[in-house]
């Protein structure tokens, strides 16, 4: 069985642990053993060390990557921000000898040494590139036929392409998440704001009103152009914004509709037949109805004898 170091970050284990559980369920079923990265810290988030000092950023990211190196595994992260922060750090360490020297001086303070033999992957890259659509298709119990999905890949998985191990053919028209949803037999139409930012992260903590303005533009574009049954993302920050800020907009009367939101592996786990009490139990925007619909008798995929 292939092994992969599971890097949790902050938002997934502390705000959306049902996403963490969905990793625990889907990856072993697809033949990937998840290896814990004990003592891993924040990536560190863009608003912390990367906003102050590059060498401190590289030291903290380098330490996280080193935990995976010591277990002889690559890193897989489910949060786009963590993926962006650590991919950029790894790229700098790999291409700048002076930065790498400084990194190892810093890591020596805590008895560690960066070796450079673990790569950084995103959950969707492992699913798409290392596991593959065919294997996902074989694992399914329920079909999403005639259900419509709006996909939200998020920013940090798309740019800058220079630093990534797995790349989209065209990062401004991403297709990886679309294909991952299509293999569940859902309809995944294009909408014009596909690659727009959801406004989460630094922008939301700096100015919530402007962040929500950006978010509303995108959400309304999805609704007006394709009227989806659900929104599916592979970014935990986008997940929190689409699920949580959507509720804020409803409560303030700015929108009058409701679209359930899933992190991709939550939806995949449901299609595999896992219990929603474990894999899709925490949300601000209700998902009960769509979950019931997904895991219904009529959607059972007939197994060939």
């Amino acid at each position: 069985m292939e092994k992969c170091g599971i890097y949790l970050g902050c938002n997934i284990p502390f705000k959306a642990p049902d996403i963490e559980q969905s990793f625990n369920k889907v990856f072993p079923k697809l033949g990937v053993e998840l290896v814990d990265l004990e003592g891993a810290t924040c990536c560190p988030a863009w608003g912390t060390a990367p906003s102050f000092d590059i060498d401190t950023w590289l030291a903290i990211s380098g330490r996280n990557i080193n935990i995976a190196e010591e277990k002889d595994v690559d890193i897989m992260t489910g949060c786009n921000s963590c993926f962006g922060v650590m991919s950029e750090a790894k790229h700098m360490i790999d291409h700048d000898a002076a930065k790498r020297k400084k990194l190892n001086e810093n890591l020596a303070l805590i008895d560690r040494k960066f070796k450079g033999n673990s790569d950084v992957f995103h959950v969707s890259h492992v699913l798409y590139d290392r596991i593959g659509l065919e294997k996902i298709k074989e694992s399914l119990k329920y079909t999403l036929k005639e259900l419509k999905i709006a996909v939200q890949p998020g920013c940090h998985i798309l740019w800058p392409t220079e630093v990534m191990e797995v790349k989209e053919k065209n990062s401004f028209f991403p297709t990886i998440l679309k294909e991952l949803c299509e293999v569940l037999e859902a309809d995944v139409p294009h909408y014009s704001a596909l690659n727009a930012c959801c406004g989460m992260g630094a922008m939301r903590s700096t100015d919530q009103a402007r962040s929500f303005g950006l978010f509303k533009t995108k959400l309304v574009n999805m609704k007006e152009e394709i009227d989806p049954d659900m929104i599916v993302t592979t970014c935990s920050s986008c997940y929190l914004q689409f699920d949580g800020a959507q509720k804020n907009l409803r409560e303030s009367g700015e929108i009058d509709f409701e679209i359930p939101v899933f992190y991709y592996t939550q939806l995949l786990a449901l299609c595999m037949g896992f219990d929603p009490k474990n894999v899709a139990a925490i949300s601000a925007t209700p998902r009960d109805q769509i979950i019931q619909k997904i895991q219904s008798e009529a959607r059972l995929i007939k197994q060939e004898a």
């Binding site: 988030a45 102050f52 100015d207 962040s211």
Partner: protein
């Protein structure tokens, strides 16, 4: 972290400070503003982004923009870096400016809580109510990260305290 003497900064010194803080592309920018055409900070209506920010820095007008919070809304999405025709890596210039602001403690107040949390627990985001949520979905109340690992917390504190961030006296 080396303090920047605002009163004495001239154009060359500002450009050099941007370069020293990771924004070497500042000298490549030709003011085409392609970066702003794809920038979420611009789309959301913040006042200082793209060529305006870079021109202020190129011409040494640092003092008048040091308190502007627009740079702290940068999502680090790197759309700008992907499309910049001069390979100036605009994102890196924005973050270099942020680091110069941070060196003067011209920091968005929203940045402090995650910083303190990172130093104390290794996680920029943490909430005690997470223990209940985790148990609700069948997970142990705490993950195997630094949150329950004293040695890991000591390591992260060593890395933070021994760098320029430690010198700022924020922890």
């Amino acid at each position: 972290m080396a303090a920047i003497n605002l009163s004495k900064m001239n154009q060359e010194e500002v450009i050099q400070a941007v370069i020293d803080h990771g924004g070497a592309g500042i000298t490549k920018c030709i003011q085409c503003n392609a970066c702003a055409s794809v920038c979420p900070v611009a789309k959301a209506g913040f006042p200082l982004f793209g060529r305006l920010l870079f021109r202020k820095l190129q011409t040494g007008h640092y003092e008048e923009i040091i308190e502007d919070a627009s740079s702290w809304a940068c999502q680090a999405c790197n759309r700008c870096t992907e499309i910049c025709p001069r390979d100036a890596k605009p994102f890196e210039i924005v973050f270099a400016f942020r680091r110069m602001q941070a060196g003067e403690l011209a920091i968005s107040t929203s940045a402090f809580t995650p910083l303190m949390s990172l130093h104390a627990t290794g996680h920029a985001v943490y909430s005690e109510t997470s223990q209940e949520l985790r148990e609700q979905v069948g997970l142990p109340p705490v993950p195997v990260t630094s949150i329950a690992d004293e040695k890991a917390q000591k390591e992260i504190q060593t890395l933070l305290d021994n760098g320029p961030m430690g010198e700022l006296g924020i922890f």
